[in-house]
Point group: C2
Chain length 154, copies 2
């Protein structure tokens, strides 16, 4: 873990906070290429009524537009929460070099928790994974969100 | 397998043929709700320079727009080739009830070949899967595509 990793994870947390304010599950992602943020995204599945509205997919679409290629081979993606199967698959498909994430997702995480799509040796691309960067801040935001959701429902 | 399954797989093959004509890997998908096709897609990853340009993701986006919800719980998706991790994950995320596909994808398939994302019991949704519908036609189209690609390269 480098000071850069913490800097960029804070930027991903800014995205997660945008989702939180919109009452969406607070997950954010950014993509970095050559020291520059070229894609940002926050979860907006409910608002957009779109199952593809996860933070990672939005950031990947924007980064591909910037790079003008579907291959993001020299990029790092920072995500506040361990990616789900769809997003872990998209990270492999776009050949992102490195994934840095904050906290584990024990219910749907596919970078070690339930499956490990990011590092599956049978695929044609494996992602370098660093977990646990700003873990406490990332998991705290999720915890507060779900606690508030439960309170409002009861 | 019903006669409906064959009818709809032919429609997915029509989509795959559109990709073929554009020199994209020939994979097509359609989504059916209450007997009506509400989403169509064909692979356009290279042309669109978008790693999210797989047939299934395009069809899911369109179907969600039609249903006006991210949940596609009463839908069936027909795909000519076994979905990759990203697309299998998107099928789980959108809670599609049933997946029918044509031929296996031994290099990246995640509905039984390498992993089985569609039926993973630890996720909050499992998809009913029927494989092998019009298998020969679906695999033949892929075979001809890659043979032509190799010929043109040599």
């Amino acid at each position: 873990m480098t000071s850069d990793d913490i800097y960029y994870m804070k930027k991903a947390l800014d995205q997660a906070n945008k989702a939180y304010k919109l009452e969406e599950i607070p997950i954010g992602a950014i993509i970095v290429y050559d020291g520059k943020i070229i894609g940002r995204g926050y979860n907006s599945r409910n608002l957009k009524k779109n199952p593809l509205g996860h933070a990672e997919l939005i950031a990947i679409r924007k980064a591909s537009k910037y790079i003008d290629d579907w291959r993001l081979e020299k990029c790092t993606i920072y995500v506040t929460v361990e990616p789900c199967p769809m997003c872990a698959g998209a990270i492999v498909q776009s050949r992102i070099k490195r994934l840095v994430y904050g906290c584990d997702n024990k219910k749907a995480g596919c970078c070690g928790s339930i499956l490990n799509i990011a590092c599956e040796p049978k695929f044609n691309h494996q992602v370098e994974v660093l977990a646990g960067v700003m873990e406490k801040e990332c998991s705290e935001l999720m915890k507060v969100f779900f606690e508030t959701l439960r309170k409002n429902k009861s």
